[in-house]
Subunit: 360 residues, 2 copies
């Protein structure tokens, strides 16, 4: 995607410096700063502190992280994989990417491991971009059909999205936002309602920024507002990402997704999840009780980051210090609330029969 | 209620200084500061900037505001009423309180107007406290019955509330929180999930503070989290306030209430609105399209207030300056999602037949 006039991806390998480069997403939208990952510890830190986040991007970062580790010590493969898997419990792409890496490294001699790991990580990265673009192309006909219905009554299609499932959540294109980019490219007039997405405000800080960089009209709302907009007829369709999708079609995504899916169902608004097939966890049919839901630090809720009056990055504490806080990272939207699952292989129904077909 | 060891109400008349005193709620939970309202302009400013907020308290503040205006100029009654009505469009208590004031002032000679206005405002204030305490008593049997059902399986009743419908939203006791205070007083073990309530964070800054002052166990969550907790069986009942209730039982309350009501219905969790009869607007049956929904400044979303590392009140901007924002203050929860309406006269069904009975 274009970011501040430059063609950038969210992660890439710098061959000259032999480091992995990422956009430090904790500094957006106030500063576009490139950070370097030089070793396993940098990669784990980038994932846990959410300098990189989003299911596809976490997977690619872990793949590069394994390369960085093997470069330092080719004997530490299993330990490195364990450390990388421990960074985030919910997103299944982490495991998927590391499985792919292990398959490619199987039988490789010790002195060639690092080289092979780099080759595979770069390949996975390139594939991710192709897959995400294909997700957008799969979703395009859905929004085109909606526009044909609405045209004459409305001047654009209003799409609601939650969190950031954009180029910043992947290598490029994104998942939910890929559908939006492809729809805009196809000449359909669109406007995006962006949920702020507390506690980390990925909507406010990443999605609004990313959409504005791409010239897509967007409006920020608080997470509380989506239901009201749907009642008013101001939302035509919802498109979100997914961190893990069960075979039965339950979608585990950023906390709050479930509430928007309920409101969409109550107001007869189609609700789509857009995701790479790698997000589908074939080991489970039902999500509730099976998918581990990450609990994160209370500080993510009590401290809010932004810029102060001088434009410097700063934080304020909004609660009393003694306030007790629970901070769940994800929730599960049951399959019956999902209109369809948009993947790189096409659109599937949110049920086991259909999704088994997607995995073939 | 007890606040920092002192018995305080949210608003009172100081006879010695001839001023109205309020708690400046914009400074909580970091500072408990008393502010003085000396004239009409102070009263209007306190309502619009939300130094005072909450349907009952807005009404009482407007009543005192009319006194402060008549004291300065008894000929400006109609102009003062208009200015006060214009401060907030959604809460119907503002109009209710000013109607009560006008009735009591009708036929009073000019030089006695201010005195009569003060007398009536003080009366309305005392009544509000009695009414809110009665709301708590009406709701108590509901929570006692829930506890009888759950006892043996659970160690407490988990109540979810949104925004602040506590003593700080009224003169004392509050509406939703009055039910909670009365239930705790009756010896039922309770724990309250407090929605943060973006954009102004009244849950984080007022409800957690108020409940903690009263010694009631509470946990702060982001507005996105309630649905997930309900799916997990961690919420036994929801109790919220109301800024305006239609005869048909639609409840207009803080933005986001509707989403929690949808989640409660989807998970078979009872959802109650607790409100004074004065909040019922007998001029309308259906809320959507009839109740004006206040739109507030985008700055409420883009700037977040808290304390900095030195403990000083400070703000940060979380968005880019160019970000387009929509900020709706309220939403409407349709009657069919409301289990019951708890008032000072008892508990009513959310329908026209039942609520006409409440108005008799």
């Amino acid at each position: 995607m274009m970011m501040e006039g430059k063609r950038l991806e969210s992660i890439w390998y710098d061959r000259e410096l032999d480091v992995v480069k990422i956009i430090d997403q904790n500094l957006l939208p106030h500063e576009l700063r490139i950070a370097e990952l030089k070793n396993l510890s940098d990669a784990c830190h980038a994932i846990t502190t959410m300098q990189v986040r989003g299911a596809p991007l976490i997977g690619i970062t872990a793949a590069y992280g394994l390369y960085l580790s093997l470069k330092e010590d080719p004997r530490q493969q299993q330990l490195a994989i364990k450390k990388l898997l421990d960074t985030r419990p919910t997103a299944v792409n982490l495991r998927w990417a590391l499985d792919k890496m292990q398959q490619s490294l199987s039988g490789i001699e010790s002195e060639l491991l690092a080289e092979k790991a780099l080759e595979t990580a770069c390949l996975l990265k390139e594939e991710d971009s192709v897959i995400c673009e294909a997700i957008g192309e799969s979703g395009l006909p859905i929004l085109q059909a909606l526009w044909r219905q609405k045209k004459g009554y409305q001047d654009c299609i209003n799409i609601l999205t939650h969190c950031n499932a954009g180029a910043l959540a992947a290598v490029d294109w994104g998942t939910a936002l890929s559908v939006i980019y492809k729809t805009a490219e196809a000449g359909v007039p669109i406007h995006v309602w962006v949920d702020e997405t507390r506690p980390r405000n990925q909507g406010a800080s990443l999605t609004c920024w990313e959409l504005s960089q791409a010239g897509i009209p967007n409006t920020l709302i608080v997470d509380n507002a989506g239901g009201h907009l749907m009642q008013l007829g101001q939302v035509d369709v919802c498109v979100v990402g997914s961190d893990r999708t069960t075979l039965g079609g339950d979608v585990c995504n950023k906390i709050g997704t479930y509430l928007k899916a309920l409101a969409a169902a109550a107001n007869n608004i189609p609700f789509y999840a857009a995701l790479p097939i790698s997000t589908i966890d074939s080991s489970m049919v039902t999500g509730i009780g099976s998918i581990p839901i990450e609990e994160r630090s209370a500080d993510e809720i009590s401290y809010v980051y932004g810029v102060d009056q001088e434009g410097n990055r700063s934080k304020v504490r909004i609660t009393e210090e003694r306030t007790r806080i629970k901070n769940y990272g994800f929730d599960i939207t049951p399959a019956q609330l999902i209109t369809g699952i948009i993947t790189e292989k096409g659109v599937f129904e949110a049920n086991e029969i259909s999704l088994r077909g997607a995995l073939d």
